[in-house]
């Protein structure tokens, strides 16, 4: 699979991963990203996943997958034992996003975190005018059954980085609609649907 066939957020992640590096993908889903990183970057990677269906898909995708609950910590991974630790669209589902982030930086030289931006105008619009938690293609859950328990916006995440002494190396924004893809450059927190951060320890 060439980079251009990848999901847009995965394309950006792929650009941030060095060739031949060792990658840990936390909440790796079906393993598509790891598969692409292996094929395009010759990365040797491990996925961590808790969903049994996803684990089956990982096996079909020929990627290493470890069944593990990330909320219980990453103490089984040694300090600085990976070049890159990725958490794509999962940090908002964590019990303690701050602890996970600290653990990720302990395990990896650099970390890549992506999450749905709750500061996106649709979410703001929904809450402001409907008085209800937003439900959209990006956030397709009711408040009571969502796995997303710690939503944040770009600003929130960056505040956390400052508080934890984390250096933001890159920030990218993904918006799928053409209007959004244009406007995201003007006001990312309002028009970016997905946030992508590359961070390291200060």
């Amino acid at each position: 699979m060439s980079d251009s066939n990848l999901r847009l957020d995965h394309q950006i992640i792929s650009q941030w991963v060095k060739p031949n590096s060792r990658v840990l993908d936390l909440g790796c889903g079906d393993g598509e990203l790891l598969k692409a990183l292996h094929q395009n970057k010759q990365a040797h990677g491990y996925g961590v996943e808790i969903n049994s269906e996803n684990i089956l898909r990982c096996i079909e995708n020929d990627v290493n997958v470890i069944e593990q609950d990330i909320d219980e910590g990453l103490s089984n991974f040694d300090d600085q034992s990976f070049d890159t630790v990725i958490m794509s669209q999962a940090i908002q589902t964590m019990m303690h996003p701050d602890r996970v982030l600290i653990d990720m930086l302990r395990v990896g030289q650099q970390c890549i975190v992506t999450f749905p931006n709750f500061g996106h105008w649709k979410a703001r619009w929904h809450l402001a005018f409907h008085g209800q938690m937003p439900i959209s293609d990006l956030l397709p859950y009711e408040w009571y059954n969502t796995p997303n328990i710690h939503f944040c916006t770009f600003k929130d995440f960056e505040h956390l980085c400052t508080a934890l002494d984390i250096q933001v190396l890159n920030r990218e924004v993904v918006a799928t609609k053409s209007f959004g893809s244009f406007m995201q450059h003007i006001h990312p927190n309002l028009f970016g649907e997905t946030a992508l951060y590359r961070v390291c320890k200060k």
Partner: protein, 392 residues
């Protein structure tokens, strides 16, 4: 061949499309002496073997099945149409099953030291003309691996597509990956550990003491006395059996159901719980079919096993020698070989930068879960992994 239940519309189990059917064990002789881990030499020995499926032209589709403590070569299918019970892993070996015999050539072997036909304590020692008995050499897991490698040579199998085992079988699979790294493509380790915990060794020791203290044991030379330590062996099996099940599973199956008697006040009648009679039945059956010296020998091999001992006690250093991919599976209610033990294997493999898939199967069957049929997630996972194994 006469068909039992000829009037019944459903075919007998041995004729079902998912069974390997009627199988016949073969005896394979080895004349070349083998030096065992404890320094003693077996000048000749034999292995009893069953195979299912067909070896392809390149001999690239062979799977080795390593058995656990009380297992043997009879892993799948039936020995005769009258046979009521299939091999010990019949639920997972056969056409369309996770170890699919349409794809793979499966080799199941009774280890040396066993009592199902391979050279062991009940065999005749050619040097004395008497049964080996207590004089049969102590064995280590690696001895089994070495004899299995010689078997592979005889069968024309240079490389196993996979070496697969549960429990003590999983230990053999891991040892294979280190002793013959270029002869294993995939290593499937189910409900196993890199070494036993003190608690595990304690259970084994208690079971052995039950056997050793049986007045019919005669220091292991009971065959000469024309007797067997049935009582001790039966207790040993009962102890083992309890540890292979989970509290929850045992509760669901037996609870506090009574087999006989009553707790009614004013009635002095002896009470027997279902679990008591079940354990006695299991123990008694086992003592008739299994050799006491073999039980002692196999539990000792378990206790001695320590994957990383020769690698500075560093499991990652040990696994750095492996070249194969790994599947590691554990079961949530297995307290004899708990998921933590499997995670230690996985952590070492990650540290050694080896390919590994790890899954923890939700199950209430305890350590025995790896043998239990109809566990959907276990089946799917095992099947998906085995299907991805290339045999080209």
């Amino acid at each position: 061949m006469t068909k039992p239940n000829a009037t019944n519309s459903s075919p007998p189990a041995y004729e079902s499309a998912s069974s390997v059917g009627i199988v016949t064990p073969e005896v394979v002789h080895f004349d070349e002496p083998i030096t065992l881990a404890n320094g003693r030499i077996l000048n000749e020995y034999q292995l009893v073997v069953e195979t299912y499926g067909k070896l392809n032209e390149k001999a690239s589709n062979a799977i080795l099945i390593c058995h656990a403590l009380s297992g043997n070569h009879h892993a799948a299918g039936y020995h005769s149409p009258e046979d009521k019970r299939p091999g010990w892993w019949d639920a997972y070996i056969g056409p369309g099953k996770p170890i699919d015999t349409n794809k793979f050539f499966v080799v199941a072997v009774n280890n040396i030291g066993g009592c199902s036909g391979s050279t062991g304590p009940t065999s005749i020692n050619p040097e004395t003309g008497k049964a080996w008995g207590a004089d049969f050499p102590n064995l280590r897991v690696r001895d089994w691996v070495h004899t299995q490698a010689r078997l592979a040579d005889k069968l024309g199998i240079q490389t196993w597509a996979a070496v697969v085992g549960g429990s003590l079988g999983g230990m053999q699979a891991m040892r294979w990956s280190l002793e013959y790294p270029d002869r294993v493509k995939h290593c499937v380790v189910i409900a196993a550990a890199m070494k036993l915990t003190a608690q595990n060794i304690a259970f084994n020791q208690t079971a052995r003491q039950a056997i050793l203290s049986d007045p019919n044991f005669f220091d292991g030379n009971y065959l000469e006395k024309d007797t067997i330590p049935a009582h001790g062996l039966s207790i040993a099996r009962m102890i083992g059996h309890i540890t292979y099940l989970s509290d929850d599973g045992m509760g669901k199956k037996f609870g506090r159901e009574l087999r006989s008697g009553t707790f009614e006040q004013g009635v002095e009648e002896p009470v027997e719980f279902q679990i008591e009679s079940y354990l006695r039945y299991q123990g008694s059956n086992f003592s008739k079919s299994f050799d006491a010296n073999t039980y002692v020998l196999m539990t000792r091999a378990l206790d001695y096993f320590d994957l990383a001992r020769e690698y500075d006690d560093d499991p990652a250093k040990a696994f750095s020698h492996a070249q194969c991919k790994f599947l590691v599976v554990s079961f949530t209610s297995d307290w004899r070989f708990a998921p933590e033990r499997s995670r230690e294997i996985v952590n070492a493999l990650i540290k050694a930068d080896k390919d590994v898939v790890y899954a923890e199967i939700e199950s209430s069957y305890g350590h025995d879960a790896f043998l239990i049929p109809n566990q959907i997630r276990y089946w799917d996972l095992f099947s998906n992994y085995m299907q991805k194994i290339s045999v080209d």
